[in-house]
Symmetry: C2
Subunit: 205 residues, 2 copies
């Protein structure tokens, strides 16, 4: 694409760095910002700057936080002995929205993916292991995507923490609530039969 | 969606103002900015601010420009008597990329759309009419989308400039180069037969 203005070109390049945004979409965003009220575009501009200055990663669980230690880690009312391992901040949001988990989290910051060049050393796995070796954790719950990358990462963590005395579980795979059996894929359906659960546990919630 | 951080919530709201961006996509953008190098996010932030301060709309054709009068309008080598009417900056880019048009432009800034609350008074139509009434223009080419909104706008402009002595044309509708006839819709195919062109004009380019 050829732009008549150098500034527009630079702005398109900057927006095109966002995930899933190509040059055409970036140009759409740029034209929208040009049309916006000055107040709105200044707000977007200043908030982007503040994201880098005001936010940190929690020193304990690597969650995004405005403090040195995040709200969940500093909340004494939560179960200190259970740690749920997730990929990123969005997964914490999703699990918190269920209202059914009261333990702590550990954010990996990604999943092992040789295709994208993400190896275990790029993830927060070492800090998880040292937390476990410190000894105060009784259960680790792996809550990673049910994808190739998620399963690989789960298996890697399983091997890493095998030497330690800690209960390791993974969130259940099965038929989603509201789904019809006949449309479920074979792997999911097969697993849901093998990992069948006592019926009365379905009645709890 | 509930966010643990007020800042993240504000940032998601700011990004969600961009066209076609919902809260989930906005959150993806926000998390990406948090992970980015400080330099990159500062660049995005400052360039958004500059878009509003450094860019203007050309006083003649309403195109986006870094000067008071845009490069195309101030280019004396271009045909001063032909004006191509387009919806926005992207259409100018597309037409300029063909390299086949050497006249000037007039940017409407949108299309008439009662559903979106855009009426003729929201568009740069009056300035087009006064340009024509000034008398130096010999041809107006309507290059608007082949949609309901585009056709409505074309027809509105046609009626507005009917009193003036100016040639009015519209870009050709027909089978796109590379398309197969059997997959073309009936309206397009029908029009392409009615508006058939001398064969030798196909040989020129």
């Amino acid at each position: 694409m050829e732009f008549s203005s150098k500034l527009i070109e630079q702005a398109v390049d900057a927006f095109a760095q966002l995930p899933g945004v190509g040059k055409k979409t970036a140009l759409r965003y740029v034209l929208h910002v040009i049309k916006q009220d000055k107040e709105q575009s200044n707000n977007l501009s200043s908030i982007i700057a503040r994201l880098k200055t005001d936010l940190k990663f929690c020193s304990n669980c690597h969650n995004i936080s405005e403090q040195e230690v995040c709200e969940i880690c500093s909340n004494a009312a939560r179960d200190q002995h259970t740690v749920c391992v997730v990929q990123d901040y969005r997964d914490i949001m999703a699990i918190e929205n269920t209202g059914l988990y009261k333990g702590k989290y550990h954010v990996l910051g990604g999943l092992i993916s040789p295709l994208e060049g993400i190896s275990p050393s790029n993830l927060n796995i070492e800090t998880l292991v040292s937390k476990i070796s410190a000894g105060s954790i009784s259960e680790i719950i792996l809550a990673l995507n049910a994808t190739m990358e998620g399963e690989t990462t789960s298996f890697y963590i399983f091997r890493k923490i095998a030497p330690y005395q800690v209960k390791l579980s993974a969130i259940a795979r099965g038929i989603a609530v509201g789904d019809e059996l006949e449309y479920a894929d074979e792997v999911t359906l097969g697993r849901s039969i093998i990992n069948r659960i006592p019926f009365d546990s379905l009645l709890k919630k």
